[in-house]
């Protein structure tokens, strides 16, 4: 059975591209426009991994991850943070978010599939 990845990003182009790349790599893909919508999607169906942007309307990436960590049903889902900010700046602002990985925007297709595969491997260990 294929694994499910939830992509949460307010940027239309990025969601479209990620959906295609991940589907081609054999993953089942769900999408959401912002953090609040992302939590709603997760309540409907628990994903195996979340790819989330940092700067989004209503609920930013860091606040979404914090909300996930507080929810026992979602707390152990690995999360990869996508950002055009320096990852060090993000961790400085938001502390330890328990991330499975960082993806610097703009990214190449191979970097996405590698990051997702690596996060799943780490989860299995």
């Amino acid at each position: 059975m294929s694994r499910t990845v939830l992509v949460i990003d307010d940027e239309f182009g990025i969601v479209e591209v990620l959906e295609t790349i991940l589907a081609d790599a054999g993953y089942e893909v769900m999408t959401a426009l912002h953090g609040r919508q992302g939590l709603k999607r997760m309540a409907e169906r628990r994903p195996d991994l979340v790819l989330v942007d940092y700067m989004m309307p209503f609920l930013n990436g860091a606040d979404l991850i914090r909300a996930m960590r507080k929810d026992p049903a979602l707390a152990d889902i690995p999360v990869i943070l996508m950002t055009s900010l320096d990852p060090r700046a993000v961790t400085e602002i938001d502390g330890d978010l328990g991330l499975a990985g960082f993806l610097m925007k703009p990214f190449r297709a191979a970097a996405i599939t590698e990051a997702v595969a690596r996060a799943f491997r780490r989860q299995q260990r």
């Binding site: 307010d10 969601v15 940092y54 700067m55 989004m56 209503f58 055009s84 900010l85 925007k105 703009p106």
Partner: protein, 497 residues
């Protein structure tokens, strides 16, 4: 009686030159449209205003309705010097509302703006791509409602909203009538040249500098150059008419002028190419002193070439420059902006406390100007401003006739702007050229009306002490009995006769 009105707080854009055009900046709680074709500079404009705002302690929200990715946009912005990653995302936050507009329409975007402005406590919000909202509106009424509600949020939160849009909708569309201000970024094509221009079409509650102002986009972002004639329509301080005299560096010319050039005036030095205008300028600039610094502003000769020329005439420019008594500025006329040159000149004047200015020459301004009709007003304003900053200016103008008595001023109206006029001319007699100098006009003062022959040699210019030689040359040329002996021009020594 105290005024019942409360003055609205201004928010400077921080875009160099723009706040002068806006007479102080935008108003807090106002909604402003920045319009222009793709590539006009709207995104840079909005980002530059955001970075300045957060750099001065404000908070900004950048909402894009375009399909363009923020990461790409930020990569482009990172090449500009105003970019600073530090305030992102804590003080400057980027979000996309593209899909929210597609899925939830105008109401969705308004909800997003209302919540995000409050959540981020934004005092500046950018909505990049207003055209997308207009195109998604079912009617003009719905679009008007969107603008109206956004205005309400801006007032409630005390934030400025900048809405960027492509400039292809008519100025009669509702957004333009409703907003507090409108700024157009455009490109004007003049021959093969393109000049970026900015115009404030509307600014509620304030005057603004009228007309189109040139701007450029460089590694520093946008810099606006307010039109000199509007910026200095009223010169900064009053012209006090100081009554002092400034030496030209040529004692005989000073005597002809009645003791030197009246201080804080403008002198037009007219003459054909090769007459010696630049050399007069070297004499003038090299009289610079610590209390009287000089600026030699040249369009044609690079500082190196000028230095070589000066050296061959016995002037030590390097020493004066090293002692910070003299600055040489070069502005090649090709692809330059008229008002940028004026600003550069005035900045150097302020920075160095310049008292002596030599501008070589008017032709550079003519070649730079994309609209020649502006020149008399432009130059009048610039000269006025220099005068009020206590600068004594000599500027050169090339006469249209190379050799002979006819004098045609290079730009109409200049003789009114210049209080003093000195004329250099070349006279052809037999097989050689003679140089003659005369003073045509000095403000409120007597002067020596005689024509003088002058020579350029190893020590610069030497002017005859009397008009005898000039009279002989002109008399002979005009058919009087020959009475002059030709001599080689070797130096400043008086010619023997």
């Amino acid at each position: 009686m105290s005024s019942s009105s409360v003055e609205l707080a201004r928010l400077p854009t921080g875009i160099p030159g723009l706040d002068a055009v806006l007479c102080g900046g935008l108003f807090q709680g106002g909604v402003y449209i920045v319009r222009g074709e793709p590539g006009a500079g709207k995104t840079i404009f909005a980002n530059q205003a955001c970075f300045h705002h957060v750099g001065t302690g404000g908070r900004a929200l950048y909402v894009t309705l375009l399909a363009e990715s923020h990461s790409r946009m930020l990569q482009h912005m990172a090449t500009l010097r105003f970019f600073d990653p530090a305030p992102i995302p804590a003080a400057l936050y980027y979000i996309s509302a593209f899909r929210i507009l597609e899925e939830d329409g105008l109401k969705g975007v308004l909800d997003l703006l209302r919540q995000e402005i409050a959540r981020h406590r934004a005092s500046l919000v950018v909505v990049d791509g207003l055209l997308a909202v207009a195109e998604s509106s079912a009617s003009d009424r719905e679009f008007r409602k969107f603008i109206h509600e956004l205005q309400g949020y801006a007032v409630l939160e005390g934030c400025v909203a900048l809405l960027t849009t492509n400039g292809n909708r008519s100025a009669y569309h509702p957004e333009y009538t409703m907003v507090d201000g409108m700024i157009t970024l455009a490109r004007a094509h003049v021959g093969a040249r393109t000049e970026r221009q900015l115009e404030v079409d509307k600014l509620r509650g304030s005057e603004s500098l009228p007309g189109r102002h040139a701007f450029e986009i460089t590694g520093a972002g946008i810099t606006v150059y307010p039109r000199t004639e509007t910026l200095f329509a009223r010169p900064s301080p009053d012209d006090k008419g100081r009554g002092q005299r400034v030496t030209t560096g040529l004692p005989e010319l000073d005597r002809m002028l009645g003791g030197g050039i009246p201080a804080a005036t403008a002198t037009l030095l007219l003459g054909p190419p090769g007459a010696g205008k630049t050399v007069v300028g070297l004499h003038y600039a090299c009289c610079a002193a610590a209390a009287e610094p000089a600026l030699f502003f040249t369009f044609y000769e690079t500082p190196d070439r000028l230095r070589m020329k000066a050296q061959s005439l016995g002037f030590d420019l390097d020493r004066l420059i090293a002692e910070e008594r003299l600055e040489v500025a070069w502005a090649p006329p090709a692809e330059n902006l008229l008002d940028a040159i004026a600003q550069r000149m005035l900045s150097a004047v302020d920075r160095k406390g310049v008292r002596r200015l030599f501008i070589d020459g008017l032709g550079g301004f003519e070649e730079t100007a994309t609209h020649g009709a502006r020149l008399p007003q432009f130059f009048g304003a610039l000269i006025n401003e220099l005068r009020t900053r206590n600068v004594t200016t000599i500027f050169t103008g090339e006469t249209r006739v190379m050799i002979g008595s006819e004098v045609v001023s290079p730009i109409a109206g200049l003789s009114i702007i210049a209080e003093n006029i000195i004329l250099l001319r070349l006279v052809e007699l037999r097989s050689r050229l003679y140089r003659l100098l005369s003073v045509l006009k000095i403000r409120d003062s007597d002067f020596d009306v005689s024509l003088r022959e002058f020579h350029i040699g190893r020590h610069g210019i030497a002017i005859d002490a009397t008009g005898d030689s000039a009279e002989a040359i002109l008399g002979e040329r005009d058919g009087d009995r020959p009475r002059r002996r030709v001599r080689a021009e070797t130096g400043p020594d008086r010619p023997k006769r």
